[in-house]
Amino acid sequence: METMITERFKKTVLKILKISDFDMDEDTQANQIPAWDSLNHANVIAALEDEYDIRLKNIEILNCHNMGDLHRLIDAKLERKKSK
C-alpha cells in the first residue's frame, strides 16, 4: 500500500526525536516511534506546528490514533489556511 506520510512530516518528527531513520506509515502509532514518549510528545507537536505554521489543538490530537490521522489533520488545517 502506498504510504501518504510525506518526507517533510517524517523528517520533522524524526529530527526533534534525534532519530536518524525510522520507517513509518499511516498506521504507525506514536508509541511505536522511538523516543516518542510522554516527555517528548509536546515537543513533537510543537515542531510540526512550527514546520507547517499551523496550530494543533490537543483535543484534536487526542482523536488521532496514528500518523495517518495526524497527517490528515495537518493537511486539513493547511487546506483551510489556503482557502482563507
Binding site: 534525534k18 532519530i19 536518524s20 531513520d21 525510522f22 502509532q29 508509541n31 511505536q32 522511538p34 523516543a35 514518549d37 510522554s38 516527555l39 517528548n40 510528545h41 509536546a42 510543537a46 496550530r55 489543538k57 490537543n58 483535543i59 490530537i61 487526542l62
Partner: protein, 565 residues
Amino acid sequence: MKMSKTVWQYWEENAQHKPDADAIIHWIPGQEPYRWSFGSLLATAKKFSVVLKGSGITKNEVCALIIRHNPYFYPLYMGVSLLGAIPAVLAYPNPRLHPEKFRQGLEGMAQRSGLDWILTEAPLAGLLKPLLERERSTIKGTHLPLEQNFEDADISGFNVPTGINDTDPFLLQHSSGTTGLQKPVLLSHKAVTDHAEAYGEAIRQSENDKVVSWLPLYHDMGLIAAFHLPMIYGIPSIQIDPFDWVLMPELMIEAASKEKATLAWLPNFAYNLMADKIHDEDIAGFSLSGIRMLINSGEPVRKKSHERFIRKFAKTGLNPSALSTSYGMAETTFAVTQTCAGELSKEVKVNRQALAKGIVKPEPENENARICVSTGTLIRGCEIKIIDNQRNELPSGSMGELAIKSLSLFEGYRNYPEKTAEAMMGAWYLSGDLGFEMDGYYYIIGRKKDMIISAGKNIYPEDIEDAVGHVPGVIPGRVIAFGAESEEFGTELISVIAETITDDEQDKIKLKTNIVMAGMDIDVTISEIYLVPPRWLIKSSAGKPGRSTNKERIMNKEENIKWKL
C-alpha cells in the same frame, strides 16, 4: 493499645453519612464526567465482591488489577478488598512495551509476591495466556470482571469477612523496575488509616477539600494521596486518565476549575510540562484560585520548575503560596514530611561543588549556589535521622542517607525477607535517599544508589543496561546507564554509554536506533547515546563498568567522544 478502624469502616461511614455526595468524579475529555457518590460506589463495590467470590477468589489471595481508565475500576478495586483479598494495581502495558518483557515482569512479580489472580480486560487476556500455561506459573487464573453481570448481584446479606482487624494486610504496591527487581510493599489497614489521620493534620484537610489528579493508581502518590485519602476523608476525587493528561495537560486545569478543586499532588516534571506546553488560549477563562495546595512530590523538587509554573498560571488566579512540597515513599504508605499549608517552601543556597562531595555549605550571597527546596517538616508519627555510610547518626546540616521511622511503616516486602532485612536498621527504614536537615526542615538531594528518577518514575539502570547489552553490535556487559539532569524537562533524562567495535558511520546510526528501540521494549526512553570504543569504560572495584566515574567523564567532557551520535 488503641485499635484503628479498618479502611472498610471509613467507606461504610461515608456511604451512610453522605450517600449522595460526590466520591469519584471520573473525567473523560469532551464528555460529562461519570460521578460516583459514596453510596453508589460502595454498593457497586459490594456487588463486585459478591461476583468475585462466586468466581472462586478468597480471603488473603492477591489480585492484580490491570485495567485502563474506567469508571468501574474504583468499585472493582474496593470490591476485591471487601472480599478480604489483597488488591495490587499494576500498570496496563504501554503498547511499546514488548509483550514478552511484560510477561516476564509479571511472572517475576507473581513468583515474588505470590500473585494469585489477574483481573483485567479482554484485550489483555490473550497476551497473558502463555504466562498462565507455563509450568511454573503461580497464577491461578484471569478474570474479566467488567464483562460479568455484576449489576444484578444480590448484596442484601453482604458482610465483610470476619476475623480481619486493623493490622491485617490491606493492599500491595509494587516499587518501580521492569523485571524481577520490583519489591512488593505490603500495607495494613492501620498503616493506611493512621497515615490518613496524621497526613490530614499536616495538610489541614477539611470537608471542603476536593482532589484533582491524573496520577496513575499503580503509583503510591496516585493510589494513596489521590484515592485512599479522599475515600477515608469523605471528600471527592477527580480522576483523569494519565494518558489523556500527557496529550492534553490542560485537562487538569479544566477539571480543577470546573469542579473547584483544592488539592493536587504532582511530580516535578509536571510543573515544567504544564508551564511550557499549555497554550494560553486553551486555559482562557479557567480559574485555579480555589487550589489551596499543589504538592510537589515523587522526585527532587526544582525551584525553577515552581517559578515557571507560577509565572504561567498567575493569570488563572493561582496563589503562589499554594505550591507546597512533600517527601514520601510507598514503604511509609506515602508522606514523611510536608510543608505547612499556605507557607512558602523554605529554601537554602549551598555551594554546588561542596554539595557534590556531600558537604552542605550554605552560601546565601553566592549567585551560582545551588538552591535546595525543602520538602517541609516531619508529619506526626514520623522521625528521620541522617546517617553516614557506617550508619552513624550525623548532626544537623550534614548530608547523608535518610533513615525513617513512621507510624505507617509497611509490613515488609511480601515473601522477600532478605530484602526487608536489607532495608531495615532495627525499626528504621533505610530510604536510600540522600539529603540533609536544617532548622527542622528536610532537603532531598538525590539517591544513594544509582536509581534514575525520570518523570516521577523510579528506573533501575540495571534494567536498561541489560536491555541495551543484548543489542547486536554492543559489547555485552560493557554498557552503563545513568540519569542526567534536564532543566528543560525538570527531571532526569536517561543516557547510555555503550562500547562497540563498530566504526562504520552508517552502522553506528543503525546501532543508535536499535539501542533506542531496546529501551522502548522495556518502556524506557533513552535520550542520549554515547558509543565508545572497546575498553573505554573504566571498571569499578567490583569489576563492572562504574556508573558514576564514567558518567563524570562524559558530563565533564573530560574525554573527546568522537562517537557520540
